[in-house]
Amino acid sequence: MPLMGQKNFRVLNKPVTRVDALDKVTGRAQYAADLNFPNMLYGGCLRSGLSHANIVKIDTSKAKAIPGVKAVLTAADVPKPKSWADYYYLADKIRYIGDVVAIVAAESKEALSDALKAIEVEYEELPGVYTIDEALEPNAVQVREKGVGLVDGIPTPGTKGNAFLESYFPIRKGNVEEAFKKCDVIIEREYRTQFIEHSYIEPEACVAVSNPVDGTMTVYSSSQNPHFSRRYIADALQIPMNKARLVQQTLGGSFGGKEELVGLTVGRAALLAKATGQPVKMVLNREESFLESSKRHPFRIRYKVGATKDGKILAFEGQLVDNAGAYNNQTQFMNCRASIHSAGVYNIPNVKTDTFGVFTNNIHGGAMRGYSSPQIIFAQESLMEELAEALNMDPIELRRKNLLKQGDLTITSQKLVQPTIISEMLDHVLEKTDFVAKREAYNKQTGSKQKGIGLVTCYRGAGLGAETVDASGAFITALEDGSVLINSGTAENGQGLKTAYSQIVAETLGVKVEDIHHIGVDTHAIPDSGMTVASRGTVMGAQSMKKAAEKLKILILETAKEMLNASPLDEVIIEDSVCFLKSEPSRSVSLGEVCNNRLWAGKQLAVYEWFEPKPLNPDHHTGQGDVFPTYAYACVVAEVEVDLETGYVDVLKVTAAHDCGTVINPATAKGQIYGGIAMGMGFACTEEVEVNKGKLRTKNFDSYIFPTAVDVPEMDAILFECDDTEGTFGAKSLGEPATEAVGAAIANAVNSVLVRTKGERLRRLPFDLERVVLGKSLRAGGNA
């Protein structure tokens, strides 16, 4: 059943209209910055402009004296300057350019800006380390006390250095030393990637409002993970969690990014609201967002791979190091995923990889769409091309020989018991793109503008897997008119979660989608379900929603049967909010009548259900064991034209095939894929947060360039399905798969041109004008 459309659903598989579309096209959707409260103050932050310095003295007296200024706070004024998540609300020392030295609340934006300028701070600048290479030098400045050194290339407790011990994940499968001896061809390569800005169009924003009566601090915010933001309120103010309330507003994009900085902003606004007794609104401008928000981690990836001459990969070794920045609360989770995917979608018997982060005085890496996969797939799939070259073999053949199949073992020795459809997808995409014929035709080109075509195969562990627990809770209430309220601890971040959940409830319960309203997260009203990350919202997060709908359905059927005088043998069906006898559909009762009956009979109409995933316990010393419930496969082809004189890469077409398991909604699924292609194109060609000794050259969208409508290629999104039993209704992850392979496919396409015309290959993203023409960047790169 490879292509979508062969499953039998009533509501799933259909392009149901987004439930939030009307609010968004009319401009009435309320984002955090749109809110106003009586007596509201404006909050703002002072940053140092430095990337490593001691704070010698702070004088806030002049700022406090400015009329309209209500509070000026520094680290000395707050109960807990350091947050629970490593970062500081208010720093006592500058460890990177984003650190905040003071926060201010004032009656007007003018008074706020005057006050920030009037704060006098004396700094003592310190030498720092900024790149992965610098951090690993033997006598490098130690950025963090907890940093450790390397022994034989491995982070080792008890030694001093910059390696982030908790972020170290080894994979040990088979015996690589012995296996390399049996290889006919062995190559060693190094690949590097850059800092990437999420570039959600809405900058971080919140309003903190304290309730003087019961002491509750409520913050309305642009949080990706509302329950995690709540933790920052309780932590900053040192109040019990039940007095900290976070209400998520419509979110203007996140892609993993609206976590740490939003949390800190929420904490800072809460501190100012507490200090002044007035509501405080904090809206970051784009420059502030660039300075302090997390970025996609830059990686330095060193690979050694060996194969027999007929193309069977026998041994794989790697060291994957990421730049964690000055603080980090993500690398220790992300590198789990990075290690598991460190050798690609191939069946390799002997693997030894080491993945770890290093602390630097640079901007920090966080979660960004893919969570290490765009970087690793770029390296991994570049390596496949280079190995094919060394073997003098067609890279398609090399992939075919080594692709994982159902029943094979991954590099963690997890047996793939679910359908493993990557080979089928590869064949389909090769044919649909006319790959082989185009490649041949392109090989005959001459001139300064030449076309290239590139291919990538990959897979992704669905949901959180072994990174952390993938549990969730959901709530459904049926009302006496037959309308239904639903809510989940996982959040709508623009990806379409409310629509997907409404469809899942409609499919399960038989209620009309229009009769369902998803409330959205208010942490006082729905329990914590962990983060809305890891493309887990549908595949795992919706499991509890489905369970709740199933439970409610049992309750409703019980009453419907009574009302329809059904015999024990009669089956009652609910469809489009009507309950009827299967054998005699004209005998029916509306869902509203059933609910009304239950309400006045004092019967349960609300259900809260919890989903606990099956346990996954890999061995941390070897990385061996089952690590994800299932995997989503992808095959992406990119076609480009490279101007060899200017270095301009024109991405002409991207064909992206994704194994969705079950497509919940083809319109929103394709929306994910199209957006993912644009984002992957930026990653490959233009995007880089350029840093020089921790200071940013790119601070806004005039210098940080990502695709506009005229830049994006022709796109073909192909939706595959299969009979996978792990996810909700068989669905798999898609949000991150949508972007993770695109950059690598474009890179392979560009390199096909460069290898042909210049005999050279680029191994450092992005492939911008300078790199394509000169093979290097003239400007400093964050990971140069």
């Binding site: 392009p15 209209t17 987004r18 939030d20 579309a21 009307l22 609010d23 968004k24 096209v25 009319t26 401009g27 009435r28 959707a29 309320q30 984002y31 910055a33 749109d34 999420h198 570039s199 959600y200 169009i201 809405e202 900058p203 419509t250 979110l251 203007g252 994009g253 996140s254 892609f255 809206v283 401008n285 784009r286 971040n493 623009g494 990806q495 379409g496 319109a667 929103t668 394709k670 929306g671 894929i673 199209y674 957006g675 993912g676 292609i677 644009a678 984002m679 806004n700 969208f701 005039d702 990502f706 695709p707 506009t708 409508a709 005229v710 994006v712 796109m715």
Partner: protein, 156 residues
């Protein structure tokens, strides 16, 4: 600093305001008039989230002084519905799933409207150029262009 008096028309209604000479049109719309459908994404004229139509042309309100609006007719996203009925561009955006987070959406719709008002039958290329000042990080523009194309085709 002395305030400047402006008389302008916002969504068809006359508005008289005293504004600071340096006040951005964006802030006046959002804060003084409560029209928060117009968004701020970059503040430097790059993202187009703050796009409105002034006398038939799109402008970035983050780069426009409110004081310069005397006598002008301004249309914001809030002015698109007529008698509670959606504008065809709004309907097409809904139908084609042309939005995700929605933060860029008001700006995109205003750019599309300015285009179609002046050129009801644009080519796909002209549509793309017309919205190239509106950055969207979610959609990849594909379904946005589809939506605008459909409105253009229907008007034929």
């Amino acid at each position: 600093m002395d305030k400047v008096k402006v008389n302008m028309f916002v969504n068809g209604k006359p508005v008289s305001l005293e504004v600071k000479p340096y006040a951005r049109l964006l802030d006046v719309l959002r804060e003084d008039l409560g029209l928060t459908g117009t968004k701020e994404g970059c503040g430097v004229g790059e993202c187009g989230a703050c796009t409105v139509i002034v006398d038939g042309e799109t402008v970035n309100t983050c780069l426009t002084l409110a004081a310069s609006m005397d006598g002008k007719h301004i249309t914001t996203i809030e002015g698109l519905m007529e008698n509670e009925k959606l504008h065809p561009i709004q309907e097409a955006f809904i139908k084609h799933n042309a939005l995700q987070c929605g933060f860029c959406t008001p700006g995109l719709i205003m750019s599309a409207k300015a285009l179609l008002d002046s050129n009801p039958n644009p080519s796909t290329e002209q549509i793309k150029v017309a919205i190239s000042g509106n950055l969207c990080r979610c959609t990849g523009y594909e379904q946005v262009v589809d939506a605008i194309k459909e409105v253009a085709e229907k008007s034929k």
